[in-house]
Symmetry: D2
Subunit: 349 residues, 4 copies
């Protein structure tokens, strides 16, 4: 941390800052300038926060320097991690050497719809199935998901198709039942800062897919991952799904730069969700190509056998020709950036 003193700060003001820092065992290095004096602090950041130095007389600003996250940081864990999703032979990797394609319906509506969507997904190259049983909806009058019945459908479709399942959990009280049925627990964008839920999935013993809050900075997102990691679970995959900006032509603005930014600072894998970012199916294929090319570790997209009857986000779900085009893209493009499409057979742990 760096303490910037005001131009009119006195020697006593400076001495008071130094004294306070030393009281908690820190060291303070004073750099006196013509106009301003700067004090560099070395020691335990957390103890400095409690000092509230910003409030002392003569202090103009206090700036943090080090990363505030530790377990998910690449500083102390330089190799990028691989997270395995699914049991035994069916486990599929998400990590730096592969490209993992996850697809499925936004919401589980029925056994038939889910099964059909899973077959579509698998046919297009997907090796993990997404599908929501618990849906967080802006309106209390919108379809909220099938709940437990939805989880059972997913488990059943997994048994038939062999695809491990990724599904969202929206309430800490539901974590045990979701963890019992799912292979990977998704924390959605609206819950990225629901710290009780983060802690609960951190203790559930299953890998977690953590979506970025729609207005979270990358740093806040990594802090949310730190909450999960701190409970002992490092099997966290990040998912960029668009941020909120002033631009109305897409539902959110896909922050494609977040992929290399995260990879430079954290060892966790990161995938991209073009369906929710754009909210328009005509953008899903070009954004998927961009995601592969920028170096994402995977992709998660909505597919639906009959988008026109979908209970949730129909306009962004792929079907027919769009899906065939995407299937070609995920089969051909990962090799261009030195990756292969992830499958259960990829396992070489």
């Amino acid at each position: 941390m760096v303490v910037v003193m005001a131009p009119n700060a006195t020697d006593e003001d400076i001495a008071a800052v130094v004294a306070r820092v030393e009281e908690v065992g820190g060291e303070a290095f004073v750099s006196r300038g013509l106009v301003r004096t700067i004090i560099g602090l070395v020691g335990d950041i957390e103890s400095f926060h409690h000092l509230n130095l910003r409030i002392l007389r003569g202090v103009a600003d206090v700036r943090r320097i080090s990363d505030p996250y530790k377990l998910v940081s690449r500083q102390h864990h330089p190799d990028r991690s691989t997270v395995w999703v699914g049991e035994g032979d069916r486990a599929v990797p998400i990590g730096p050497e592969t490209f993992t394609f996850i697809a499925g319906p936004c919401a589980v509506e029925s056994h038939e719809q889910t099964y059909e969507a899973a077959v579509m997904a698998r046919g297009a190259g997907a090796t993990l199935l997404r599908g929501g049983a618990f849906k967080p909806r802006t309106s209390p009058y919108a379809f909220q998901g099938l709940g437990l019945a939805g989880l059972e459908i997913l488990a059943d479709v997994r048994a038939t198709t062999g695809l491990p399942i990724v599904t969202e959990v929206v309430d800490a009280r539901d974590v045990p039942v979701v963890a019992e049925h799912a292979d990977m627990l998704q924390v959605g964008t609206r819950n990225m800062a629901n710290f009780g839920l983060l802690q609960a999935v951190g203790e559930a013993g299953k890998p977690v897919l953590l979506k970025r809050g729609m207005t979270a900075t990358v740093e806040e997102w990594l802090m949310a991952a730190e909450y999960i990691a701190q409970r002992g679970n490092l099997d966290v995959v990040l998912c960029e799904r668009g941020i909120r900006t002033f631009e109305p032509s897409t539902r959110n603005t896909l922050d494609i730069s977040a992929v290399p930014v995260v990879q430079a600072t954290s060892h966790l894998p990161i995938i991209v969700d073009p369906s929710h970012a754009a909210g328009r199916k005509d953008l899903v294929v070009p954004l998927s190509r961009a995601a592969i090319a920028v170096g994402a570790d995977g992709l998660i997209v909505d597919v639906h056998p009959r988008p026109e009857t979908a209970l949730c986000d129909g306009p962004q779900a792929l079907v027919d020709s769009d899906l065939r085009e995407l299937a070609q893209v995920v089969r051909r493009m990962p090799a261009v950036v030195g990756r292969k499409l992830a499958t259960a057979a990829t396992r070489v742990r």
Copy 2:
């Protein structure tokens, strides 16, 4: 809802839209133009959503017209509401004829600190005490609040000072214990879209202070209030606390316009939190003046007997001369806009 057809839509495309709308019992009015055709829908909006009209051939856009919220809307409830906080004779109103001043420490740290802050708050004209026992923090390494012990301190300070208490609940599992101790349950900015928590506080039988999500639109915020109302609780007070923008000189940007915007569309009371909006104590007094003048129904600010030792948000807490200045403002300015400072004695139900 309005369906906008593409320029090249055929008569069959138009007929298909009309047929689908009529299938679910709606009416469709077709307006044919030289370039485009527009179809106005009348009937049950929810059933139209399930039709996914956007995906039909020839459809260029689908636009919603009516408010998506009902219970909190002023359309069907034109008189603005008053919410009473506190038991029996101690109850304090928040509503259109009064101006309610809420103050207290950001976090409950000890009995002594809470009691001192309460006395400061009461001395400055506050009639409700704020204070956090459960703190949602971006970092898992930051102080997370005293929990149950904090609630007991608050209840004790209420007994001594007579001030009803407002405190945050961050997890649906904690709602019963918080409701048992507090007079008003606060849902914080990070939990505005935690729908399970909204439903839980909707069933808790206590008034709710619902902070705006830091990147929520006014419409989404009112939808969150609708979640609470739908569980039978209309005693909801909204709190504008700043939104996230690109401007770095304040922690958030106080959206002062949200006060008259909300008052025009919802009957719920709305108050302003200048402390968390600005994150700087030098802005709290001017922003409080602006909040009163714009027509807010109340104000919630951080005070602390010793900000330099505060475990949370010390730089924004008022003390001494700032607080004396604010006390003058809340005593003199509400009359300028035709309101009186709310007290328990205001009761004339």
Copy 3:
């Protein structure tokens, strides 16, 4: 400036930074920490910028500390300034002791409309007349203003009503002709970073009203004012007119906090434009109250004798009962914050 070294920076890396700083006559103070080393720089900031220290081996970050603006900063000019608009006895002040009300039509459409609007404005307490002869419009097909004919109408209405005029200039080539007719030159939000125009108005010998760019930070805005000041013109009044955010219920989000933020860092006067911020006339009166209460030095609003025929921004123009309400507000509220309504008679230079 502070240079933050990476954790793996070597002694040589540090020495290289120090050497470069000393080469240009600066001083470098090294603070070595357990994890990181920080180097504080003292000297001429501009020369440091050219060093591109960020690119040296081992450098993790470079942070600026001092204000980048000088002439408009309050650091070297602690008393807040007053700017006088108008010739001789007609001059009206904008500054810290008064509250100045500016009103008029968004665009000059005809002599009759401008005169009627001026009479409305004066009747409501305005002492300066606004009105656009050159209009920057998003669409090339929209009304672009009457140009020179509009300036002549304004000058004529000034002669009749006695109100000095404020009008926008959108092109550096038009500065001489606009300066010849107007009492104050307005630089609009779209031109805040049109540096050639800023320099031209800086040399025109008339006071300038500088609107904030709709996505400019306060610092960038003050830098734009510095461009004008640098050409010898310190008679600059800043105007907050709303910033672009994700909230759709208002055209822009009025950043009311910008008023005290600017007043804390710059000596220039600052006024508020609630009409363009909100884009809705129902918000103009409450936002005007907020502007006075927060401590703004003035207000600029749109009025129009027949808003339903306005060629520009009709929906936000005040008329009749709204304007009478605003007239009451500007007459009564400034006294609440210790100011009096500015008039030409205020002159006590």
Copy 4:
């Protein structure tokens, strides 16, 4: 356009809207609903704007449906355009079948530096040279470019290297001299809404590179292009260069979705500037891969022979190994999306 009436609108209110629309030669189609009535307008949009329908009694909202731009729209010009830059045999295309690589220094600093950068650029596959002689800078104390001397250096380097040049013009008064020296005129992000400049470049007889305003919507950007087109110049290439959001880890947020969004609505070519979007050279290569993959028509990047001495934006300029990596990317990746790298030899008009 669609006029939405308020729930309490009377038959007279509705009739008044219809009458006004018919007065200007439009047609109004009334759709009466249980709660609301909607009126669809058909005819000349511009004439409707002047009606200010929003202000009539009983009108709740007015919504536009058609595109506001015409000349740059794909509606009336379905084939995507190709723009040629450079004279005679040296002309290089930017369009839907090729991928055009533009590189060069942010600012022209000297003949030697510009020549070296041009040789680097050409060696990496670039066929057009960028370089700024007039620099718009936030600070009046920053390097503002060499002006005319810079243009002469660029022309000289073109003569030696054969690369046509792209250079920025920041003031309408400079358009003739810049057009005389340059092959393509760049309008920068700060000037996207400088309408006088847009009109001036529209009349200059040279192709234009129009950067997106840092907070412009796609629609506003296309309206800016319409200003140029309206003056008779359809040789406009759009350049996405990042938008302003709350995320601090990159200077701006590259809106990669804007590429397919623009291509769906406009026939103009669109390229990407990853250097200015990110402001960090470590992101330039991954973002360039994403730009090619998403379907951009070209790329513009900063290169500099000695970034550590650059007078402008050194931290984002490529050199050595980064540039070699980018050279590989631009040579190999366009084929993956069915394009070839554009060269003068590509000419097959």
